[in-house]
Amino acid sequence: MPAVPAIAVERLVKIYNTIPAVDGISFTLVPGSITGLLGGNGAGKTTTIATIMGLTTPTSGRVTVLGAEMPRQRYRVLHRMNFESPYVAMPMRLTIRQNLTVFGMLYGVPDLAHRIEQLGQQLDLTELLDRPTGRLSDGQKTRVSLAKALINAPELLLLDEPTASLDPDTADWVRGCLETYRRERDATMLIASHNMAEVERLCERVIIMKRGHIEDDDTPAKLLARYGRRTLEEVFLDVARGRGIPREAAQ
C-alpha cells in the first residue's frame, strides 16, 4: 500500500477579492522529503503555505496534510506538524522557558520540562531559557522560534525563510540543525526561501512559483541541467525575468 503523502495539493486556487494569489497548482510531497518553494514576492508561496497550515480556505481545489483535508479536518493533524517563520513572533515579555511551556502544553507534549531542557541544549539556548524573548538578538530569536517549531517533534515542518536576517555563521548552524533533525526524525520539510544557497544545500526538490503558478518543479541538479546554469540563483533569475523554458515543457 503506498504511503499517504505528507502534503497533497490538487488544483489549488486562492482568490483574494478578484486577485488570484494561487492559480490552480498541484504537487505532492512524499514523507521524509525536503522541498524548497521558490518564487519572487507575490508568487503565492505564503498563501500556499498558509493553506497547507489551514490558515486560509481554498477558493477551490483540495489540500490534504498527512491524510487530513485542510482546513476542515485540521485538528486531526495539527499536533503532528509545526511552523517557523521570522515574521511570526513569539510573545516578547515571556521568557523562552515560559513560551516553550505554553506551546508545549498546546501541542500536548509529555514530560515537557525535560523536552525544554533537551531543546535548550540542542539549540544552544540553555543559558538563555529564563531570559525574556524580547531581549534576545535576531539569531537567538530564530533559535527560539525553531525550538517552538520542534517542541512537538513534528513529522511535517513548514519553514518560511528560516534563515532570513541571520549572519552567515548562524544561518549555517540553523541549516545544520534542520538537516540533522530531518535525518533523525525522517521528517518532511517544505521550505519557502529566497536564499538559493540554502535551497541547494537542503532541498532534494525545488518548486518554482511565479504569479500563482508553478513554473518548474524538479531536483536542483535537473533544473541546473535544463536551464544550462551553474547555480539555482541563475535559474531563479531566468524564471523571474521570463527567460525560462515554457511552463508546459517544464512540467
Binding site: Y16, L55, T95, D111, L119, D124, L146
Partner: protein, 297 residues
C-alpha cells in the same frame, strides 16, 4: 555560543526515542478529542505570565476603577446631604459604578487578553496550533475574571473604607448581578475579538468603546422610565438593564427582584450564543480573506 563552530547536535524527536507528537489523553488531540483543559490552561498560563511580568499592566487594572469610584462616591456623598430621596437610597450611585465596572472591565479584560496576541503578532502561531476556538475563548473568560478581581477587589474595599458602601453586603443578589454582567461582558468581548480577528487592529478601538454604547441604554444611573417611551423597549432588550434596575430595587425598595435576574439570564443566553456564533463566522471569514496571515493593522 560554544557549540556554533561544531556540527550541531540533532534536535532529537523525543527523550527515550518515543514519538512525542502523539497527544496525551488529557490533551484531547484528534478530530473527536474535543475540549482540552490542558490547552485552555496553557493559554491562561500565558496571560498569567504576561500579567506577572508587567507592573504597569497591574497598576492599570486598579487605577481607573479607583478614580471612578472615588469621583462618584463623593458625588453621592454630596447629593445625600442635599436631597432626601438619595439619603434614603444610599449607595445607588456607588453601587451602580461598581456594577458598571464589572460589566466594562469584564469585557475589556477579555478583549485586551485577546489583543495581546495581535500586538505580539502571535495569533498565527496559535491558529496553526491544536488550540481550538472554544479553548481560547474559555481561557479569555477565565482571564477576564482574574483581571477583574485584581482591579475591583481593592476598589470595593476602598468603597467600604471611604464611603461605607459594602458591595459584599448585597449577598446572593451580588452573585446574580455578577453572573449576568459577566455573561454580557463575555458575549460582547467574544464578538469584538471576532471583529478584530477578521479586520485586524483597525477594529481595536471598538474594544475600548463598544461598551459605552450600552451605558445610556442600560440605565446605569437612572431608572428605565427616565428614557423616552420609544427607547424603553431597546433598553429592556439589553441584559444589564435588568441588573441595574435590580440594584435600585434592592437599595431603594429593599426588594430582591429574582424575576429581573431570570429575564436577564435568558437574554444573556441569547447574547452569548450570538457572540460565539458571530466569532465562529468571523473566524471563517478571516480564513477566507487571509486575515490570519496578515494579522496586523
Amino acid at each position: 555560543m560554544t557549540a556554533r563552530s561544531e556540527a550541531p547536535s540533532p534536535p532529537s524527536p523525543a527523550s527515550g526515542g518515543g514519538k512525542i507528537n502523539e497527544p496525551s489523553p488529557a490533551c484531547g488531540g484528534g478530530e473527536g478529542g474535543g475540549f482540552s483543559p490542558r490547552r485552555a490552561a496553557a493559554m491562561m498560563l500565558r496571560y498569567w505570565y504576561l500579567l506577572r511580568s508587567s507592573w504597569p499592566r497591574l497598576v492599570d487594572l486598579v487605577y481607573w476603577p479607583t478614580v471612578q469610584m472615588i469621583t462618584w462616591g463623593f458625588l453621592q456623598y454630596y447629593i445625600m446631604q442635599n436631597a432626601g430621596f438619595f439619603a434614603r437610597a444610599g449607595g445607588t450611585f456607588i453601587g451602580a459604578v461598581l456594577l458598571w465596572d464589572i460589566l466594562f472591565r469584564g469585557q475589556l479584560g477579555f478583549s485586551i487578553s485577546f489583543m495581546e496576541e495581535m500586538w505580539a503578532r502571535n495569533i498565527a502561531n496559535l491558529m496553526m496550533s491544536p488550540l481550538r476556538p472554544i479553548e481560547f475563548i474559555t481561557a479569555l473568560m477565565v482571564m477576564s475574571i482574574v483581571r477583574l478581581s485584581i482591579g475591583l477587589v481593592p476598589v470595593t474595599l476602598l468603597a467600604l473604607a471611604f464611603f461605607g458602601f459594602n458591595l459584599y453586603g448585597l449577598g446572593f443578589a451580588l452573585v446574580a448581578f455578577f453572573i449576568n454582567l459577566m455573561l454580557t461582558s463575555w458575549a460582547v468581548g467574544i464578538f469584538v475579538s471576532g471583529l478584530v480577528l477578521r479586520n485586524g487592529l483597525g477594529a481595536e478601538n471598538l474594544a475600548w468603546s463598544i461598551m459605552f454604547l450600552f451605558m445610556p441604554l442600560t440605565c446605569v444611573y437612572y431608572p428605565v422610565t427616565t428614557l423616552p417611551v420609544w427607547l424603553q423597549p431597546v433598553a429592556w432588550a439589553l441584559p444589564p438593564t435588568y441588573v441595574f434596575e435590580g440594584l435600585r430595587a434592592l437599595l431603594i425598595q429593599k426588594v430582591f427582584r429574582a424575576d429581573l435576574m431570570l429575564d436577564a439570564l435568558a437574554l444573556n443566553v441569547l447574547f452569548f450564543a450570538a457572540g460565539v456564533f458571530a466569532f465562529v463566522k468571523l473566524l471563517q471569514s478571516a480564513r477566507r480573506h487571509g486575515s490570519l496571515i496578515q494579522a496586523g493593522e
